[in-house]
């Protein structure tokens, strides 16, 4: 067991593994926003957003309150359709099928099945733990008890909460702790096997331990799902994301690798914001 890393690196298997890993990290865009504008009535909240969301990676949206980051996030699952007097123009193309998520011809219900969302405050349904996760599956037409049980367990395991709730599946979800409720909501979102998971400040109502668990979960989940996260916590964006997009006044100012943004951003506005010189 005394082989050094250099010796290991010289062995062919090691280099093959590294090559495979490199190949695996070459990813394509899961969704691409192009010339996206959005209006609340006459108020234009998003201006000409062009952004690629890289598949199986975490993209963080940062920016001051009111910059449009949550508005942008909500375009992905058509949350704005629930509000009157809103308008989209431009597109968010979902790959590989090239479906325009904000297109009028696309059914928002269908969009929400493929794109899950987790909110700031944990919002479980006032039902049992099991039924919270089974809900979306039932909507999708799963009725077999064994299949439901299997899928619920899978989702709860993926959300790293199975061990904590496996004996309480028939208890009310509202009896769980805040951190558990949030992971239950993540399990609920994962149950329908979405392709993109949207997180809108998922840890702002949680304590540091629960926050660390959610962050760890996000890091694990990106292997199977593309993640877009809005956060006010700069350190959180730095910790969990691969790419960071900085938005200001409804515009996308800069997007780059997270390591670049937090060490040497290209735009002065980005640097001023992340170093607390904004305003």
């Amino acid at each position: 067991m005394n082989t050094t890393l250099a010796e290991k690196a010289a062995t062919p298997t090691f280099s093959i593994v590294m090559e495979e890993r490199k190949a695996a990290t070459v990813s394509s865009a899961k969704a691409v926003a192009a010339k996206l504008d959005f209006w609340y009535g006459t108020n234009q909240a998003l201006k000409n957003i062009n952004l690629s969301i890289v598949e199986n990676h975490v993209t963080a949206l940062i920016g001051p309150s009111g910059c449009g980051k949550s508005t942008f996030l909500r375009c992905f699952n058509r949350m704005h359709d629930l509000q009157a007097d809103t308008k989209y123009s431009g597109s968010i193309m979902l790959h590989p099928e090239n479906i325009n998520l904000v297109g009028k011809e696309v059914d928002p219900i269908e969009v929400r099945m493929r794109i899950g969302m987790v909110f700031q405050k944990p919002n479980p349904f006032p039902k049992t733990v099991f039924e919270n996760v089974a809900y979306g599956l039932r909507l999708r037409g799963f009725n077999s008890r064994t299949e439901l049980a299997e899928r619920v367990e899978k989702a709860l395991r993926a959300a790293a909460i199975w061990d904590e709730v496996k004996d309480r599946l028939n208890d009310s979800a509202l009896a769980l702790s805040g951190g558990q409720m949030q992971r239950l909501c993540i399990a609920r979102a994962l149950a329908t096997e979405p392709e993109i998971l949207l997180f809108d400040e998922p840890t702002s109502a949680l304590d540091p331990i629960a926050t660390a668990k959610i962050e760890e979960l996000i890091t694990e989940l990106r292997q199977r799902v593309t993640i877009l996260i809005v956060t006010h916590n700069m350190q959180q964006a730095a910790r969990v994301s691969d790419f960071t997009a900085f938005m200001y006044l409804g515009e996308l100012v800069e997007v780059d690798a997270t390591s670049k943004i937090f060490t040497n951003p290209s735009k002065k506005a980005t640097e001023d914001y992340i170093t607390g010189r904004y305003g």
């Binding site: 290209s266 002065k268 640097e271 010189r277």
Partner: protein, 237 residues
């Protein structure tokens, strides 16, 4: 808010948090104090050598512990700043650059210490001594490396990338001076091997001055790094 592409990123611009401002100001202040001390050490060491001033050489040796103490303080304060304030971007670059500048200054201070020791060993002036023969080159190199060090520290003080680039440009000049002085002093040992020991000591003193120029260059690079410009960008500008 200016969304234009950054030309120069200045970590000394004020923050919303006054605690961050105080941390940054404290780090810079101590780095500059250390810089001033090392500039003084280098000047005194060279003077003690050229003027055979043993008392001055002793003073340089005595003050070296203060240089070391400054380096440790910069190290500690930068680490605290990183741990407590979690700086990013130009604030983070500043925290790292300050540690590196401290290290470069400490090494420049070590060179001054070596020169002062050499000065002390030269109590009996000898007309055939190689250090007297290269006195002009020694003064010249001391002037050049001293000025590079002053400008590097000033560049850090004023966050002046032009001044920093000027230091980088002058390093080749100092190297050429060193090569010329080396040729001259080597001719002594070739004439008479009794000069071997003083010749080696003289070469070390010259090399020390050349190294001080290198440390000044490294400090100038850190100034550019703090401002988000690397050396290639600096060279292109």
């Amino acid at each position: 808010m200016d969304t234009a592409v950054m030309q120069v990123s200045d970590p000394t611009e004020p923050h919303t948090s006054s605690i961050v401002d105080q941390s940054v100001a404290g780090l810079r202040l101590h780095a500059l104090e250390m810089g001033a001390l090392v500039i003084e050490q280098v000047a005194a060491a060279v003077k003690s050598l050229v003027e055979r001033d043993a008392l001055l050489a002793q003073a340089v040796l005595a003050r070296d512990s203060r240089v070391d103490a400054y380096e440790k303080q910069l190290d500690r304060d930068s680490l605290t700043f990183i741990a407590l304030q979690q700086p990013v971007a130009n604030d983070l670059r500043l925290a790292r650059a300050i540690v590196r500048i401290g290290r470069e200054l400490e090494r420049a201070g070590d060179e001054a210490k070596k020169i002062a020791r050499f000065a002390l060993s030269l109590d009996a002036a000898n007309d055939g001594d190689p250090v007297l023969a290269v006195g002009r080159q020694l003064r010249h190199m001391a002037a050049l490396s001293g000025s590079m060090l002053r400008n590097a520290v000033r560049a850090a003080d004023e966050m002046d990338p032009r001044l920093a680039r000027n230091v980088l440009e002058r390093d080749a000049e100092l190297d050429a001076e060193f090569a010329a002085a080396l040729r001259l002093v080597m001719s002594y040992v070739l004439q008479d091997h009794r000069f071997l020991r003083p010749t080696i000591d003289t070469i070390f003193a010259l090399k020390g001055l050349e190294r001080i120029g290198d440390h000044a260059t490294n400090i100038a690079e850190q100034v550019l790094y703090m401002m988000g410009q690397d050396r290639q960008q600096a060279d292109a500008a």
